[in-house]
Amino acid sequence: MADLQKKEPVALPTWPDEVYRVLKDADVRQVGMVPDAGHSRLIRAFEADPQARVITLTTEEEGIAMLAGAWLGGERGVLLLQSSGVGNCINMLSLPMICRMPLLMLVTMRGEWGEFNPWQVPMGQGTRAVLEAMGVIVTRADEPHLVASTVSGAANLAFNTWRPAAVLIGQRVLGAKNFKELARK
């Protein structure tokens, strides 16, 4: 199994750069995030961008409220989080839903294909159900070359129809960690 995973592509180097371009085209200025390794390249791109502001959050629901305030003030943003953070957002998702505000969430998945850590599985398997239960429109990318176009579609949906939309970036795109291998080192 470990050998099989090693042969999978580990994050094509281009897709985070394509996502950055898509988000720039969407005029994203506020980037709220609780970091994930899968978002690290995108975060670095925004950190180097003087027109954007990267805000590290203590918990993901802070970002839902922050981006609601951003929309009131005429700025667009994005929330970068890992699937485990979706659970932290549940009640706060009331805000964009009831206020008809856009919200764009990019969720890197854990607890699915290739997962090694059993503690990631419950929230990973519940991520889509939780988002959909709160009225978030969910789309998903499982191939590196489809991530940017999926984000583009979700951004259009969010900002043009004033709805929360999430893109799940599959673990197959990101590559699975193998903690046992790391532990042997």
Binding site: T56, L72, G73, S94, L95
Partner: protein, 199 residues
């Protein structure tokens, strides 16, 4: 002027914070702070929350960095603020100069039967904000101190945090529009102009 140990009245505090409010933008946490800012006079520049407990501070922050030339005042309760203490750390690190957070601290969950909050047990919210790195953070017990916070909110160098000790009185409700779409649209129209309607 208040005699020592006499707790302030929440609507006196809010009326003073919002005196001559000019183009001040206001976000209020759910429950009594919502009714308080509405009692002071409903305005399209108010965003009164009816839910999303824990949202107020971060919503004010997102607004403040989106509108750096405007002043933003968050008015919320101690229970609502306690639910998002991490937001104080997030905001302090970002250091927004145009944001003031005023917590109306009656040491109670007022909407649910006046159960005691952690501030009744001695938790020092202003101390937490100071430790997080807020430029200015105070416990406020007199109307003269409220006026100082009002002036800081309107003209001062933020971020400012104020924990205003108030009487745990239950007052009549003054309700703003409950429809989130109306609240959002009228706020954006006021701040961003009619063009926001065509977005």
């Amino acid at each position: 002027m208040n005699v020592p140990n006499e707790l302030l009245h929440r609507r006196d505090v809010v009326n003073e914070l919002l005196r001559d409010r000019s183009d001040l933008l206001v976000v209020a946490g759910l429950g009594a702070p919502n009714w308080d800012i509405s009692a002071a006079g409903d305005s399209p520049n108010n965003f009164p929350l009816w839910g999303a407990m824990g949202a107020a501070a971060m919503m004010g922050f997102g607004l403040a960095i989106a509108q750096p030339k405007r002043r933003v005042l968050v008015i919320t309760g101690d229970g609502e603020m306690l639910m998002s203490l991490g937001a104080l750390a997030t905001i302090a690190v970002q250091n927004p100069p145009n944001l003031t957070i005023a917590v109306l601290d009656n040491e109670r969950f007022g909407e649910t039967g006046m159960q005691k909050t952690h501030t009744a047990g001695g938790v020092d919210l202003a101390g937490i904000a100071t430790a997080a790195g807020f430029r200015t953070s105070r416990i406020v017990r007199t109307m003269a101190e409220v006026t100082e916070i009002r002036d800081l909110a309107h003209h001062g160098n933020g971020p400012v945090f104020a924990q205003v000790k108030i009487n745990p009185e239950a007052l009549y409700f003054v309700l703003p529009p409950a429809d989130g779409g109306i609240l959002t649209t009228r706020f954006r129209q006021s701040v961003l102009g009619d063009g926001s309607l065509y977005n």
